[in-house]
């Protein structure tokens, strides 16, 4: 068997093993070592002199001293701390009374709360679950449509992996060697555009059909304006300021992403202290969960770098390149095809696996089609919103179903998510047609 054929066997076997459900990081590492041993085999050489062993240690160490990935545990820690700072109910209540004049005010408030909280924590599951317990029953009680209420919470919570400072973009930066700072600048406008479209969609639906979201009884929202301002100052502004200062420090080049993340984590602890939510037990929880989730993400990198360096050594990368080039695609059809594949991968897999393992397959092809890796990254980040919202593995819908009242059916939640999926595709289309949405902010900050 020739080497490129062997690479194809390697990829096929890997996809098969993934479907069997074995932890992916170790599968990648073992397959890298086994195929690499064969590829680097030299007769009469001592067993452990095979080059693959040095490669494995070298790859592991290059993940350990990777200064981009250093930001991952810091942002995770910031997220776990904010999650435990008792800010969410205040935030939701303050926005709800502040927005009372808008049609569907509670849904809009839930959407903005989700988006803001998810941006600060970056942990989708926690946002959807917490809001599912807090805002979802409140909306149903007020007579809001079940589908609309579910869609708002699932879609809003999922925004956290997109809007900077998000961990997903750091991971993409580490995979593609695009600067995280530029990725952040590039993703801000599309992120806000998507969030804005969500809000516009909710308001329009409710304006057309007010039955979807009945107005709340006056006595529930009748809070004097001064009180509203105080409520906002207590809950909305501290979190917004924390996010903006982390993001601002990165964009203005005052701090590297990991330094800004450390400041953010410190700020999150201060916030928890200010809300009297800082306990030894909660700190321990946040610290231990950070270690576990960091291990999950970074070990995946260890496995994937070993796997992919052997894969390209065997010529697998070249084979895929030749195959794709022989399809005579142009830039548009290439983008459509690659995004379709990523969309489909999002059904069974999570964003971390897709970005760390599968996106690198597309990256070497980008230059042939004149696609900027930064632009591609923003499209991927938008696209991966769908991986949380499309059945059969719509994680956001499952989190909501897990804590929703019995009478809310899973299918109802899915149906509630569909219009928001539509908005994701509209945003991707707009980004493709108007690339300025991506390039404007990076150009403002860093020139061409």
């Amino acid at each position: 068997m020739s080497n490129p054929q062997l690479a194809l066997v390697m990829l096929g076997a890997f996809i098969f093993i993934i479907l069997l459900g074995f932890p992916i990081a170790f599968t990648l590492m073992a397959m890298g070592v086994m195929f690499g041993f064969y590829a680097y085999f030299v007769p009469d050489q001592a067993f452990f002199d095979n080059r693959v062993f040095y490669l494995l240690s070298q790859n592991t160490f290059s993940i350990m001293n990777n200064d981009v990935l250093t930001a991952v545990p810091l942002f995770l820690f910031m997220g776990y701390m904010i999650e435990r700072s008792n800010i969410l109910d205040r935030l939701f209540y303050s926005l709800q009374v502040a927005l009372r004049a808008i049609p569907g005010s509670m849904a809009v408030a839930a959407l903005i709360t989700c988006a803001l909280f998810a941006t600060a924590t970056g942990i989708v599951g926690a946002v959807v679950t917490l809001m599912g317990l807090l805002a979802f029953p409140a909306m149903l009680k007020a007579g809001y449509d079940q589908k609309l209420s579910s869609g708002v919470i699932c879609a809003g919570g999922t925004l956290g992996i997109l809007i900077p400072p998000s961990i997903m973009l750091i991971v993409y930066g580490a995979t593609s060697a695009v600067s995280v700072v530029k990725l952040y600048a590039a993703a801000i406008v599309p992120g806000f555009l998507l969030a804005g479209l969500y809000v516009v969609y909710v308001i329009t639906r409710v304006a057309i059909n007010p039955k979807l979201a009945p107005k709340l009884p006056k006595e529930e929202t009748d809070v004097p304006w001064l009180k509203v301002v105080v409520l906002l100052l207590q809950a909305f502004f501290p979190l917004a300021v924390l996010i903006m200062s982390v993001l601002g420090a990165i964009l203005f080049g005052l701090a590297t992403p990991s330094e800004a993340a450390a400041i953010g984590a410190l700020g999150a602890m201060v916030l928890a202290i200010a809300y009297r939510a800082f306990t030894w037990g909660r700190l321990k929880e946040a610290v231990f969960l950070t270690a576990r989730t960091s291990a999950m993400v970074c070990w995946l990198f260890v496995g994937s770098w070993t796997f992919s360096s052997i894969f390209s050594y065997l010529g697998g990368e070249g084979l895929i390149k030749d195959f794709v080039l022989s399809m005579n695609l142009n830039t548009l059809t290439f983008l459509l095809l690659s995004q379709l594949i990523i969309f489909l991968l999002g059904w069974p897999l999570e964003w971390s696996e897709i970005i760390i393992i599968f996106v690198p397959i597309f990256l070497p092809l980008l230059s042939h089609f004149n696609v900027d890796p930064m632009f591609f990254g923003v499209l991927v980040a938008l696209n991966l919103q769908t991986s949380f919202l499309t059945p059969p593995m719509a994680m956001s819908a499952y989190y909501l179903k897990g804590i929703a009242p019995q009478f809310v059916l899973l299918w109802t939640i899915f149906k509630g998510c569909f219009p928001f999926l539509g908005m994701v595709f509209v945003t991707m289309f707009l980004v493709y047609v108007f690339p300025q949405l991506v390039y404007w902010l990076p150009n403002v900050f860093y020139g061409n």
């Binding site: 093993i17 993934i18 479907l19 459900g21 074995f22 932890p23 992916i24 990081a25 170790f26 599968t27 590492m29 073992a30 070592v33 452990f48 693959v52 062993f53 494995l56 240690s57 592991t60 160490f61 350990m64 001293n65 990777n66 200064d67 990935l69 250093t70 991952v72 545990p73 810091l74 820690f77 942990i123 599951g125 959807v128 679950t129 917490l130 317990l133 005052l254 990991s258 330094e259 450390a262 400041i263 984590a265 410190l266 602890m269 610290v287 231990f288 969960l289 950070t290 270690a291 576990r292 960091s294 291990a295 999950m296 070990w299 995946l300 069974p348 999570e350 593995m393 989190y399 897990g402």
Partner: protein, 196 residues
């Protein structure tokens, strides 16, 4: 007896994972201190950059076994979760020998040689003139592999027990993600409410 042995391994991985988890607090405070020194006092430290990746690297590599004991490593389990526990355990048992041990064993042996060379000349970082040692970070690679190897033994024995008994044996629990805590509470709550 066997159960205690398995929990002992869990506890060992957890203890090491928890100990290294505290790196995140030092990392947060240390990096914040560096930013403060640079912008407020205009006097950047010479060690902050090396400190940051040493703490980050140690944190994640030594939490690998802890994550394994809590089943926190990602897996594509769309089909897997639909299978009966016995079938799950059978598949896992085979895959542990084909796709876990070769990689992890290679990591221990290769990592040992790698760290040994680095220790041989007391390798220091080239990032600053202070010469922060980094051989100890490399030495963590074979240790992390060894921890995974040991935790893997516990997981393999659990597979065998599950094939024998038809259900997964108990694992040690500590902290859980907020969503799973809340989802679990909700389940218990609605089960209690549903009972006559």
């Amino acid at each position: 007896m066997l159960q205690n042995f398995l929990l002992m391994i869990d506890r060992f991985s957890m203890a090491v994972g928890h100990a290294f988890a505290w790196c995140i607090l030092i990392l947060t405070l240390g990096t914040s201190y560096e930013v403060f020194m640079r912008y407020v006092l205009n006097n950047p430290t010479s060690w902050a950059f090396d400190m940051s990746y040493i703490l980050y690297g140690g944190l994640f590599i030594m939490s690998g076994a802890y994550a394994l004991s809590r089943n926190a490593h990602v897996r594509g389990d769309v089909l897997f979760r639909l299978l009966r526990p016995r079938v799950q355990a059978g598949i896992e048992l085979v895959l542990y020998f084909i796709f876990f041990y070769p990689g992890v064993t290679a990591l221990i042996i290769a990592g040992y040689g790698y760290a040994h060379d680095s220790f041989g000349y007391r390798e220091v970082s080239v990032n600053s003139p202070v010469g922060v040692p980094i051989w100890q970070l490399k030495a963590l690679i074979p240790l992390a592999g060894l921890m995974l190897f040991i935790q893997g033994i516990a997981q393999v024995i659990r597979c065998v027990l599950c094939i024998r008994d038809g259900y997964w044996p108990r694992q040690l629990h500590d902290v859980e993600e907020l969503e799973s805590v809340l989802q679990h509470e909700h389940e218990k709550h609605s089960a209690a409410a549903g009972a006559p």
